[in-house]
Subunit: 358 residues, 4 copies
């Protein structure tokens, strides 16, 4: 492919949330992307730099209604869908029905709507019937480093949730080789506040969050069945985990602290070796040397995942820390990475930003 | 006792650290305390409000050398020792040798020096010989709600570390009644930055900590053997736990997220009931109703410990959250509470401050 | 007065905002207050500790509708009104019409409704007609240290805004003695986020505020005419100031940095002396020694105002820093202080909390 | 120039401070830079990603002693000097003496050593004799948008301080056209904590800074004479300003709130027009529309300066807000921008990063 003249025309639906605006940021930095369409129901007709002044000085399309996507022939290559779940499926279905036949559009969905492949499970977790079940089956789970081959060929990608991204990246390879006991996985996860999106609620106010931390999401956070689905798929058996999220007063960042028991086949060394090996060609996965404590600040604004393996001196317990920026590797960065895969361009195109520290 | 005229004369050694200054704050608010002596090797001769301007306008003794404690007859009732470990034992020993015979002094030590009762263990953990082993045996572990009777009669109290306080308060009662499996205790703990004291190191700088979080302290944080000692004492067998601390960008607060397996005798209900029952007369322990997520902000500046029990729907896993202010219940507040016990005054004297929220 | 048996029965209207909950905190700590009534339109029938868990374990009345204040004979001594402006005047009027004749109620209003004494000005600033103009004339401006005598005798106190409190305390004494040029007052003020209350808006979300600071409120913040009114009253001439507020990512605290020109009669020394003298008996006003930089952390949670005077080496420019906790001295603390004045009890009753640092 | 094959070989002295590491970040992103040398006296022989793990996975030279710069022939094109003042001048002098004759090195100094052109002034402000006075005269003040022509031809560039950058950018054009009264300039500036560098002092600890703000630097912050020098140069007369910095609990960002009086020739409109005009071709300077309040978050991580002009309704007072990221436009970004100028490549090379928000 002659990349030099490649222009990938994209639309971003839901551009006035944090995931949407992060996609805009990354798309601007991308050498081959042209942003053609931006939607926001709430700010129709306004310039995105009125809502996010950090885009001042950059030429971008005005914010439109989603409807206007269907009224014109924009000849889009990719639509990124940053809409709330249950809305997303309606729009994605409409895109496939009304735009697909004339255009070759790929849809990269960042909502939860196509992550869960089982229709009943979806309805149980999200409390609503799924109205696009054919697409639900068609969607590929967009955990890049694990499902690359499927993603490349897919027309609909369901990008993983932020917690699942951080958690599945180290766990799937270990299950693949039976290196851990699948019946005893405990995950204590901590997330920054952008994980909750730009929702107006008292619990997201500065004064309620700063100088505080608290657990939430029990008995069943919505990301737990998503994680369990992928782990179960890996070993062909139902996996049930303990998953407890906590809210921490930072903007960006997730740490998953994962407590595991080695299997008969493994030790901390075999586990670390397996992860090193698995990810040795993945430029965004940094398997750390023994003894290194990764910090969310190390990946702030970048598409990296840092993974570090620790063990207790005298038994078979393993502790793995996995750290990402929830808005980048946990959402918009991974979405771009998946797009890069599809278009057969370097996987890091537009993503080689260095973390911003401090 | 006729409390109305009671004056408890106290000295605080190491008043220019955060634990020391928090003791000063609480002592000022205490109805029966008179602060007679404050030491700081670093700021000798200066007024404490030069280092901590929030004390401006309050009459307090000048900061002295510790040595001057021994040069004068201050007739102290209590010495609070907020010195670094290994220094503390030297000073405490000297107090018992040089001041005890003429005065009836009680020593409440907030360092680690008298927490570990086994001499070999101490040396292994802290890397130094213990030079006051007789006192080491004499010291009572000052976890107020658990060891009240011993504390009342003690002349030397070793106040627990901040993590151990948050962790032992819910665990000891459960082990007492065999309600949990002692071989499978996983503790994911998060602490605010004052837990590291006022030490000058890059890792305590604002710019290294704000907008970040990270694990630390593996393979063996010094508080782990302290926790294990008390758990082992409770059941008369060696208990070995998994303990992983994390640093969070807040000033004050600890959350311990504790992952447990029920024993044959228990369920989440029996566990919650046991804790309710155990602490029903303890005004500083708040065992929360089902479903409540405690936040560090709920206890900021107060001597409270909030404990909440959760269970997964369908198995015998229990999750307990225990939340304290590390500087108050985790250090200086508990120290005052112990003093109140000794002097037979209401346990909450000087401690009925409401948490400062927001 | 025999204080020992004094019980001051109070009601707090609007208890589910930050000012209201701060009043609850201070009232609990107050030796003579009994909280008899708490209102919240939004959380009627619920316990206040469901909204603010830091009150768990403390007996408090359930949250009621304001209406129920008028349906029962609570025999209140004081109503604290923490309602939004324009609502406040309606309720206060009703209190005076329906409750006053049978009870001796004092009303301490924390809204803006009775701060501005000129009816036209009020309407201009707040965009609504004032519907309680008789009470508007009757209200006394509750800047404690300046208007003590009037406050003592008043039945309706209009507590100053947070910015005006920090700004007027140093400025009024200086104008009193003609020590500064009234035509050249520039105030650059910075406030923590609780100053905006518990309002749901994107601009109050954690992620919009943390790691950021910005000016706001131009061309005319509502506190500016309030400040100008009081300054003008002092000199009997219209004073017009430059006032620019900024939002800073902290919960509590205001710094007003005030730029002044000396008058012919003054120098930095005469100005500092004047302030020292004026406030020498005021326990909550700390006029600092030369060279001291006050921090908001020095007054966090306390009712103090710290004032520091600086000068440039070689001219007649003076810079004054005035620092308060906006929720305490800037709102609920000053309200309690005014109540103490009225009931002729020590002005610091319930207010001798030490600032919480760190 | 055929840019495509351009490789600019650079060395960075003092790479383990925040300014140094920010230069490394920007240099990595730069299309034409090759990092050849990194020094750090403190961490000699170590990899920079041990100190700053956000560089993990990127190939960079090991940290060396500065001395080793002179022991080898690195054929450097540019040396960026991020050393403390008074050290910097010694090294720069040595570079010019020992390396210049054989190499065509440009030196871009980020310390204060070459900003002040008057030798006596330097000694008065920094308390030390200047030992490289010839170079002091030769150095060009690197405020890019103002001194472009001089910078292009210079071999030694003294990059402005962070405060001066934010303040001079709007002020110099206004003085140029006599639009403001030079005798009445008041600047209330607020800075994030990285402005103080990575220095170990209690006042930089997280717990001393978070949830607080305070003024500092009076009676004379070192940046004040630097600002006055440039303003005086502009009008050919001594300008004396009032400058008060404040420390704010954020990592990155400066707001300068500048209070001005219009001259006879000006109004807020002429002033805004002048700034629009002056900077219309400068991609990093964003003169904002009327009514816009710039936030430090809008420029976080970017090389932008946002300038906004406000006026009071009825007089000749003007308020200008100028906002930058102190580590980028206020230090390392501007340094790279100056390098770009010298090498005649697009001024934004390596600098078109979008601000990271949230």
């Amino acid at each position: 492919m002659n990349n030099k003249n490649l222009r990938i025309k994209i639309g971003i639906l839901g551009a006035s949330g944090y995931t949407g605006s992060e996609l805009v940021r990354l798309a601007i930095l991308h050498p081959f992307i042209e942003i053609v369409f931006l939607s926001s129901e709430r700010y129709v007709g306004r310039s995105i730099d009125e809502i996010f002044p950090h885009f001042k000085g950059i030429k971008l399309p005005k914010l439109s209604l989603i409807d206007s996507l269907f009224d014109q022939d924009l000849n889009l290559d990719v639509v990124f869908c940053c809409l709330p779940h249950s809305t997303s499926q309606i729009i994605v279905k409409k895109i496939f029905e009304e735009l697909k036949f004339k255009q070759k559009i790929r849809v990269i969905d960042l909502s939860a709507d196509f992550r869960i492949s089982n229709t009943q499970s979806y309805e149980k977790i999200y409390g609503k019937k799924h109205t696009a079940t054919v697409l639900q089956q068609k969607a590929v789970y967009g955990l890049t480093e694990i499902y690359r081959n499927k993603i490349k060929k897919s027309e609909l990608i369901a990008c993983p949730g932020c917690y699942p991204t951080a958690i599945l990246l180290p766990l799937i390879p270990l299950l693949e080789d039976n290196l851990i006991d699948p019946n005893n996985i405990i995950i204590d996860a901590k997330s920054g506040v952008t994980g909750a999106g730009r929702t107006l609620s008292e619990s997201n106010l500065f004064s309620e969050i700063s100088e505080s931390m608290k657990p939430y999401g029990l008995p069943l956070h919505r990301h737990q069945p998503e994680i369990e689905q992928e782990l179960s798929n890996q070993i062909g058996n139902e996996v049930s985990i303990t998953f407890v999220p906590h809210l921490i007063p930072i903007n960006r960042g997730i740490i998953a602290s994962i407590y595991l028991n080695c299997s008969d086949l493994s030790s901390s060394k075999t586990i670390r070796d397996k992860l090193f090996n698995k990810f040795k060609n993945d430029e965004f996965i940094e398997v750390c040397n023994e003894g290194f404590f990764p910090s969310t600040a190390d990946v702030r604004g970048s598409n990296k995942c840092m993974i570090s393996v620790f063990n207790k001196n005298d038994d078979n317990k393993i502790i793995i820390f996995s750290v990402i920026d929830n808005l980048v590797k946990g959402a918009s960065g991974q979405a771009i990475q998946n797009m890069n895969l599809i278009f057969n361009i370097p996987e890091s195109s537009g993503l080689n930003n260095i973390s911003l520290f401090p």
